[in-house]
């Protein structure tokens, strides 16, 4: 007892010195002395899981690597996943649960655009830093919300790049073939705005529904308009139907896809007509294909953690996103706060990742941190190759 009393002043002094740090560790939601909890929402089930679960697997692969190397300032990173079922109410519920129930320090996520857009108000109001990894709708990042960032290309950026690419290739008679569902609209409207801005007159503007099995009328109208470049705002299935029917009539214009058709090898198989995709180029958010030797380490990491999966471009979205977040967490220092993380994200400039087309740059004025579109193509019988990049200003 006497020994304990003798040590009391020392203990009090130590407590006084450590108290501010302990207080920070206790007060900041999702941050403990050992770990930082990051919440993630997106589709874990259903057809949208590509843009949810697979991207989260990529995020988790990065977290595992960081944790194996000692974490961020000694803290392990943990990922809490919530299914938003690709619908507005699901996304709002998921965000509220991650913020208020799970006490997440920051959020990464966002797969289906409408769902993420619906949750934007909740995220903005909560003040929790959010880095979107897959949703493309411009409304998620515009107008600027101080705590919302995106490492995904936005539909407006892709639309600008599609027009720029067509003009660079010497196209003079441009046609647009689009879907008019939520996804298609989120791309069609910024594309039309860009077309108006550049004073371009479209020679054809056709619609193909997402579940189309035949696109003969649309092909014939675009061919009759003598289009030399066709911008495809279509999912892989209707896109494949359009190119298949175009090949039937020997019509092979320059076809310009977007990140919705991110796997030209699978797309070539879906079209199923030899040579029909020879003039098809599309956008990838990432500069490597899953088979590239540059991503061999990530391929191994994904397969070790998820034996049923093979590395996909969707994993790479998550890898680039998580690397950006981890860098910001490092910059936020050993006593991270949400405000500190937002400030740190705003200092990310030309930050290289293992995934994206060029460095990631976020600023207080612009949360769209990835503006470099990667063009990929698969020549018939050949491998997928990167043919260039377009950085949109």
């Amino acid at each position: 007892m006497r020994i304990a009393l003798k040590r009391l002043p020392m203990l009090l002094l130590a407590f006084l010195l450590l108290a501010p740090h302990l207080a920070v560790a206790q007060e900041v939601p999702g941050v403990s002395a050992e770990a930082i909890r990051i919440g993630s929402f997106g589709a874990l089930t259903g057809p949208g899981y590509l843009y949810g679960r697979l991207v989260m697997n990529g995020v988790e692969a990065v977290f595992d690597k960081v944790n194996a190397a000692g974490g961020v300032h000694g803290r392990r990173l943990t990922l809490v996943r919530e299914d938003d079922r690709c619908e507005p109410s699901g996304a709002i519920a998921a965000v509220r649960k991650l913020v208020f129930q799970e006490q997440s320090f920051a959020l990464v996520g966002g797969g289906c655009s409408n769902a993420t857009l619906a949750a934007r108000g909740e995220i903005e109001q909560s003040g929790v830093p959010f880095v979107n990894f897959a949703s493309v709708h411009d409304g998620i990042t515009l107008p600027r919300a101080r705590n919302i960032f995106s490492t995904a290309l936005t539909s407006g950026i892709e639309s600008q790049a599609q027009i720029a690419y067509a003009l660079d290739q010497g196209a003079r008679r441009i046609a647009v073939v689009s879907m008019r569902d939520a996804w298609g609209r989120s791309r069609y409207e910024p594309l039309m705005a860009e077309i108006r801005r550049r004073g371009i007159t479209l020679v054809a503007d056709e619609e193909v529904p997402p579940d189309a099995n035949d696109a003969t009328p649309q092909v014939l109208r675009v061919r009759q308009a003598n289009a030399d470049a066709v911008i495809l705002l279509l999912y892989p299935k209707p896109g494949a139907v359009f190119l298949r029917d175009a090949a039937k009539f020997g019509f092979r214009p320059l076809a310009i896809g977007q990140s919705g058709i991110a796997d030209p090898a699978a797309f070539e198989e879906q079209v199923g007509v030899p040579g029909a995709t020879a003039r098809f180029v599309t956008i990838s958010m990432v500069r490597y294909t899953p088979d590239s030797p540059e991503v061999a380490a990530w391929r191994d990491a994904i397969q070790a953690k998820y034996p049923a999966d093979r590395l996909s471009v969707f994993n790479l979205f998550g890898i680039g996103n998580a690397q950006t977040l981890v860098e910001a967490l490092r910059r936020a220092g050993p006593q991270p706060t949400r405000e500190g993380l937002i400030a740190a994200l705003n200092t990310i400039s030309d930050f290289p990742t293992d995934a994206f087309g060029s460095g990631i740059t976020c600023t207080p004025e612009d949360g769209r941190c990835n503006k470099t579109v990667v063009w990929i193509q698969k020549p018939p019988g050949g491998p997928i190759r990167v043919i260039g990049t377009t950085t949109v200003q």
Binding site: E87, P88, S89, A93, A118, G121
Partner: protein, 318 residues
Amino acid sequence: MRQPVLLGLAGALALAVLPLVANPYLLFVGNQLAIFVILAVGLNLLVGYCGQLAFSHAALSGIGAYGTALLKVHLGLPFFLALPCGALLATAVGLAISYPALRLSGLYLSLATLAFAQFTLWVFMNWEAVTFGAGGFRVPAPSYPLIGAGLGTYYLSLALAVLLALAAASLVRSRLGRAMIAVRDGEVAAEALGINLLRTKAMAFGLSAFYAGVAGGLQALMLGYMAPESFDLFHMALMKAMIVVGGLGSIAGSVIGAGAVLFLLEGLRAFKGAQEIAFGSLLIAAVVFAPRGLAGALNRLPRWRESYLRRPARDAAP
């Protein structure tokens, strides 16, 4: 007072004090429960009590939701006017579709109402000048005296859920309710008793649409965002599941079914990918082991009596 009503009121009281202890996520779930209860009670009036196998409920709630939200966005109506107007719009549309649908029954009625639901979704997606198209739109937050928007919408939803559930429980014991039950149990016999089939079915469609419209309007206020996918066939399936699991022809069953479905949607978030399995299992279990739903099982309890449960097919008279 009867036991189901007492238990329902006790549940409502528990929800009323929930904001004192719950975080915003649990409040959201509580709000959603109130909306699901209104949807399920409304659908049960049409399907469980009147025996009309319609698939238009999600679309009608969409009309209520879009009506409320668009009246606020385009015309600047305050929500306390926009909400009833949206519900009345849904009621009007429900009554309008009831007349052609009244010539049909069984599967043909299902197909006709399914076509209507798809048409409504198409309108939401393509009438862009009014509905803002497939991309959806934001709904301004309502303002309430003394309390914030989230809490205000929560209490409004809860109050309306209690009110509408009690109204439905009273309605099914009224002359109209008994006429609906008679129509469900045998149209020829009902006509022989002097019941006007057309009027009774139209009233059931209209009432059900009103409930759907109120629920839709509340959803618009709660989410602050409207998009067509919130009213698709998946949501129709959810509503059907609520009344099948809870019990056809039971107001208590509607409340229990709404809770069970919400529990699956939210409670099983921790078990990724298990929702579909649990959802399917619950439906199969309900059909095989409890054809009268959970309310049917509760009806075996002493002092728990709900008279108008729909009989399972094997018990029905030939």
